[in-house]
Symmetry: C2
Subunit: 142 residues, 2 copies
DNA sequence: AATAGTGTTACTTATTCAGTAACATATGCT
DNA sequence: AGCATATGTTACTGAATAAGTAACACTATT
């Protein structure tokens, strides 16, 4: 499990790019909206690019664009692009391997929580960026 | 979202207590199996006690016991006892409130991911400690 | 009284992630 | 060609959080 804010920032980045379509958006402009450093945005954009969600144009007049329509991008796509897998962190140090419980507990935890993780991911996969953009406009404060 | 190992350790603690029933188990013995400091175990036991999952006997011959049968303890009970709520971390600094996206993105993220979080918790609630103990014995390495 | 436990606090250490600066590289414009 | 403006990436710093640790007041049993 990870404690990063990358998923939230990645969504913010993609929402910004989507709203500016079809013009490419620079990391500087995105960073201003996110309220962070442009390099942080570029780092995440790099991950989104590797995952095939965005494209980038270098040089003057360049910036980031969506690689496909918001309808075709799910929150699961975004999540997997920027977060480490595994919602649940196991022990920091290995349990006592001489103890029957210590030797087997981690496997049992993995097995027993697998379904819950799967449910989380599956549900994320059922929501698209398009839907989120709609949400963004729906309850918009003036 | 949290990155702690407390959920895994809490499960380990409860599994150990369950296996030793009906005798109370000391934090020292549990700590040996978990491979950590007894105070860490007591800290988590304190949370499990507040949640009504365990009881404790102070003094000589004391230790921790389950407050109810493993069949009546779900992984959700354990999770809620020791973890902060919220699977998804939002931005570290508040987005630009002068930007329409920045102003509304966090609410949109919360709304859009609520279902996935719910699915995770609901599924955790469907698995009991008893089931996990069974798993622990099933695939037990010798 | 002595012993063996919990409960809790305060502090230290480890880890992880975001913030930052710097720079090589790519592109478009004049 | 040369300049301006982008990305991509690296290496480092700083902040936040959680686990590890020591200490000790308190409680129960013998």
């Amino acid at each position: 499990m990870t404690n990063s804010t990358r998923f939230a920032v990645a969504i913010h980045i993609l929402a910004t790019i989507a709203e500016c379509r079809p013009a490419p958006v620079t990391s500087d402009r995105i960073a201003a909206s996110v309220n962070t450093n442009p390099a942080v945005v570029r780092r995440i954009l790099s991950q989104l690019g590797s995952a095939g969600l965005t494209t980038a144009q270098m040089g003057k007049g360049g910036g980031a664009q969506l690689a496909r329509r918001p309808k075709k991008i799910t929150l699961l796509d975004i999540y997997l692009a920027v977060e480490e897998p595994g919602l649940i962190s196991l022990h920091r140090s290995l349990p006592d391997q001489n103890c029957p419980i210590g030797r087997n507990i981690q496997a049992a935890i993995n097995t027993s929580t697998k379904e819950a993780e799967k449910a989380f991911l599956t549900t994320l996969g059922a929501t698209t960026l398009k839907k989120l953009l709609k949400e963004l406009h729906a309850n918009q404060s003036p």
